[in-house]
């Protein structure tokens, strides 16, 4: 069995975000990077499937500048067999269709039985790459899975629906799955596996070799939500609070 797991490196959401000079994305300085949360579930599920079937190879693919090798190495330390780095310093500017087509271009050279992606990325959150990729490869796709089991070429997966409902879906491989929170608890890589990962194959491919489509979406502007006046909680002695309230009403409103 051949398994492909597509992962993305995203900024830690606790980072200090600033808009970049062009006003079309966030500025990359002072950001801490990590593997996209949903992609980590994808990696874990890939490794579990590999461990279950025994005879399997798991490929981990990521698109972006050199720094994305870090997340590929982490996925290899978790149990991936080899990595593919599609080098693209302008990956942030590409739309979901372009990203999916880059992956599809690579994936069609190898016939993967099972493909895992995250449900969405934490930064762009379009949730489209997985389904686009399945469509481009002519595979069935099952989105937002929270449970996964495999037996004899058939996957039984639970999908998360609105309102707490779940749907159980059966699908024959090859197929693609996008992974949602709750699917599994990603493992912490062991030290020997971290060491081994350093020696695993990590192939770098220039994005130009794989990008065959034009962009369909253009980001015209990225901006922070406007600050609308926040609430104010007055605390302390009741008399004092009342005085302060009157002062605020006098100062900032025409009520009094």
């Amino acid at each position: 069995m051949k398994i492909l797991v597509c992962i993305k490196q995203v900024p830690d959401m606790e980072s200090k975000f600033r808009i970049n000079g062009a006003g079309t994305w966030y500025d990359e300085s002072d950001l801490a990077w990590r593997i996209n949360e949903y992609d980590e579930y994808a990696v874990e599920q890939g490794v579990r499937l590999k461990e279950q079937v025994g005879e399997a190879e798991m490929v981990v693919l990521s698109i972006g500048p050199d720094r994305v090798k870090e997340v590929i190495k982490k996925a290899l330390a978790m149990g991936g067999d080899r990595g593919v780095h599609v080098k693209d310093d302008a990956a942030f500017a590409k739309d979901s269709f372009e990203i999916a087509s880059i992956v599809a271009e690579y994936a069609q050279k190898e016939s993967f039985d099972v493909i895992f992606t995250g449900m969405q990325s934490q930064d762009r959150a379009s949730a489209q790459v997985g389904v686009f990729l399945a469509e481009m490869l002519g595979l069935p796709s099952v989105t937002t899975i929270v449970d996964f089991s495999y037996a004899d070429g058939t996957v039984t997966a639970s999908r998360e629906l609105e309102g707490g409902l779940k749907a159980v879906v059966k699908v024959a491989t090859p197929a693609l799955f996008t992974c949602q929170l709750g699917l599994n608890t990603p493992r912490y890589p062991t030290l020997p596996n971290i060491m081994k990962a350093k020696k695993k194959e990590l192939l770098t491919v220039e994005v130009a070799e794989l990008l065959k489509v034009d962009e369909r979406l253009e980001t015209s502007r990225v901006y922070f939500p406007e600050r609308k006046g926040g609430g104010l909680v007055l605390e302390g002695d009741v008399g004092e609070v009342a005085d302060r309230l009157i002062a605020i009403l006098k100062e900032k409103t025409t009520v009094l």
Partner: protein, 661 residues
């Protein structure tokens, strides 16, 4: 008259006595030697460890701690009784050797008899009293162990055999002495030089000479047989501690207290890290189990054990011994149990009090290393999250790394990236950088430095966690990668002196980083500020107030810094009310050993127990010197419902409020 006695009186001093006596003694010693040889083979299952550098110094330590009973005496009561018993028994042993020396060496070879005259009088008196002290102390210990047994004192067959044998040896000794004196010394001036023997002699006086002689010779051989049994049993019972415990004084780790080994993570040949089986530990770790006397002092002081968590340091040490001697193939971690291993706060109370110099903490961390590095396991999901945050942002709180220096905005602090010409680098640490409560401590420290004219620099966003919590949790890999980052930054800026407000940062930078090639001077702020006060650079207003002071484990037991914080408190006018458990006996806040990152799910809360101890002093303020302690005490005060009665403060905050304008 000549003050002396006939050695071997009534026994005979010829071949029918000497041959069996010496041959059987040699046989008993051979059995003991064989017993130890068998045990040494078991110790050798462990990995190599070198504990022989500076043998003269080690020997001096052995003699001081063993003959002086220094560590034993740290706990009065049972410790005092043991020490007195030991000295009494040792004198009796020396007395026996002197008799052997005269009767079978100096007299037959050189015609020299030294057991006479005033020396014999002193010899007689000392041994008589030594016997009396030994027997009384032994009876006291016997009552403690078998009648009014303190909680946690486990009593086994070994203890019964040992107490009985020693008591019989001492009692038969007095019977022999009494019988001999009844025949040869009663009514002579010499008798008063054996006051206890005299009582026995007077008691036996009515038996008549023949009866006394029969009693004497019979008891003599019985006494001899008991002593043979004692010698032979040494390696096979807890008697072995007579040799193993002093040996452990010799084998002590000569590095910093509580040192952990720095793993070579680049070693490609290493297939496993940490300890999963006894063979993954060092031979010294197995030997420690043999040096343990199960006195339970460690357990009595263990903060986890005292709050109903499944950890006893004594049990861990003995479980290692049981596995090594019984079933070395079994899983060490399953035997010791994960819950117990994760409960340790690495507070070092066990190791500090241990009268056998056993190293408990490194064993626990070795097993944690296996859990983390080989199994990817942590004590809980919250810890996995904190570890992930450390990997991404260099702090366990999950805050964006770039905001690490934000607390210092507007304060007289420079960022080294902008200006590296500073008097000190303040290594802020994660909690003082990001935790609101502890940011107040960082600001206070900076104010104090400014008042003393000290130019302070920080690394700001280039600083990362020192790595201590994860190191104690067993994640040596993450520790070393965090350490490497910090070391590189500090070396780049040519830092000359570092001051920390966190004792964990202090211990890690000043000691653990040494193993990684970092050798810059590091001080904890209490020591640094004490120097500024002493030199007159920092002037404090003295206004009387009352407080109790908590010795953090890392500053206290790990680094023996007890005086500086107290001197600063005094300089600020503090009427210090000590808790029962202070200085080396201090009780952990519960946050050490990486527990600051973990939820306390088992037993009661350690922090609550500690603030209750503080409340017992009736002082309105609990002063500490560590961000983890402060965090725990803020929680503990709420948990113990002591709001309004006790406030938790860091020493720096207190001092900053008393800067002389």
């Amino acid at each position: 008259m000549e003050f002396a006695r006939e050695i071997y009186w009534n026994i005979g001093h010829d071949a029918p006595v000497l041959l069996p006596m010496y041959l059987l003694s040699l046989a008993a010693m051979a059995i003991a030697g064989w017993g130890f040889w068998l045990r040494i083979r078991v110790y050798r299952q462990g990995k190599p460890a070198v504990r022989t550098a500076d043998p003269a110094g080690r020997l001096a330590l052995l003699l001081k701690d063993a003959l002086g009973q220094v560590k034993v005496l740290r706990v009065p009561g049972a410790g005092t009784a043991h020490a007195l018993f030991f000295w009494g028994f040792a004198l009796l042993f020396i007395g026996t050797l002197l008799i052997m020396a005269q009767a079978d060496f100096t007299d037959p070879l050189f015609g020299l008899r030294f057991l006479k005259g005033n020396f014999y009088k002193a010899f007689s008196l000392v041994l008589d009293l030594a016997g009396a002290v030994s027997i009384v102390m032994l009876l006291g210990l016997l009552v403690r162990r078998f009648i009014v047994r303190p909680a946690g004192l486990e009593t086994k067959r070994d203890d019964v055999v040992m107490h009985a044998l020693l008591l019989l040896i001492l009692a038969t000794g007095f019977v022999i002495e009494g019988a001999r004196m009844a025949v040869t010394e009663l009514g002579t001036p010499l008798a008063s030089w054996s006051p206890v023997g005299l009582v026995f002699a007077q008691t036996f006086a009515g038996l008549g000479e023949e009866g006394l002689k029969t009693l004497h010779v019979g008891t003599w051989w019985l006494h001899f047989a008991l002593v043979l049994g004692f010698i032979g049993l040494i390696p096979f019972t807890k008697f072995r501690h007579i040799f193993t415990t002093p040996a452990n004084y010799f084998l002590v780790d000569d590095g910093p207290k509580g040192r952990l080994s720095t793993l070579d993570l680049e070693d490609d040949t290493a297939e496993s890290f940490g300890a999963a089986h006894v063979s993954d530990l060092s031979w010294k770790d197995i030997f420690d189990a043999d040096a343990c006397t199960q006195c339970k002092r460690c357990q009595d002081r263990c903060p986890a054990h005292n709050t109903d968590k499944p950890l006893s340091p004594m049990k861990i040490v003995n479980q290692i011994g049981e596995l090594a001697f019984g079933s070395p193939g079994n899983s060490l971690i399953d035997t010791c149990q994960k819950e117990a291993l994760w409960a340790c706060t690495t507070c070092l109370a066990c190791q500090d009090i241990c009268p056998a110099s056993i190293e408990h903490v490194s064993k626990i961390v070795d097993m944690r290393r296996h859990l983390v590095l080989m199994e990817g396991e942590f004590p809980g999901e919250e810890v996995t999250g904190a570890v992930d945050a450390l990997e991404v942002n260099g702090n366990p709180l999950g805050m964006g790394y770039a905001s690490r220096g934000d607390w210092a905005a507007g304060l007289p602090v420079v960022i080294l990236a902008e200006d590296a010409e500073v008097d000190i680098l303040y290594f802020v640490g994660c909690y003082a950088s990001f935790d609101k409560r502890n940011q107040a401590v960082a600001r206070s420290f900076v104010q104090l430095c400014a008042a003393a004219g000290v130019k302070v620099g920080i690394l700001g966003k280039e600083e990362k966690c020192c790595g201590e919590p994860v190191r104690k949790l067993g994640n040596e890999y993450l520790y070393q990668s965090l350490a490497a980052g910090n070391i590189e930054q500090m070396q780049n800026y040519g830092v000359k002196k570092i001051v920390t407000t966190c004792p964990h940062c202090f211990n890690t930078l000043s000691r653990d980083y040494r193993d990684l090639g970092f050798a810059v001077e590091v001080e904890h702020y209490t020591v640094f500020l004490e120097g500024l006060v002493e030199s007159g650079r920092l002037k404090l207003q003295t206004e009387p107030f009352s407080a109790t002071y908590h010795d953090s484990c890392t500053l206290g037991r790990y680094n023996d810094i007890y005086g500086s914080p107290r001197a600063l408190l005094e300089a600020a006018g503090c009427q210090l009310v000590e808790m029962d458990r202070h200085r080396a006996e201090s009780f952990c806040c519960g946050a050490g050993g990486g527990r600051i990152l973990a939820e306390e799910k088992l037993g009661s809360r350690i922090s609550v127990k500690r603030v209750q101890m503080a409340a017992e002093t009736a002082a309105p303020m609990l002063v500490s010197n560590c961000p983890f302690c402060l965090t725990m005490f803020e929680d503990g005060v709420k948990g113990a419902e002591l709001d309004g009665r006790l406030i938790a403060k860091d020493l720096a905050e207190l001092l900053a409020a008393r800067i002389q304008p």
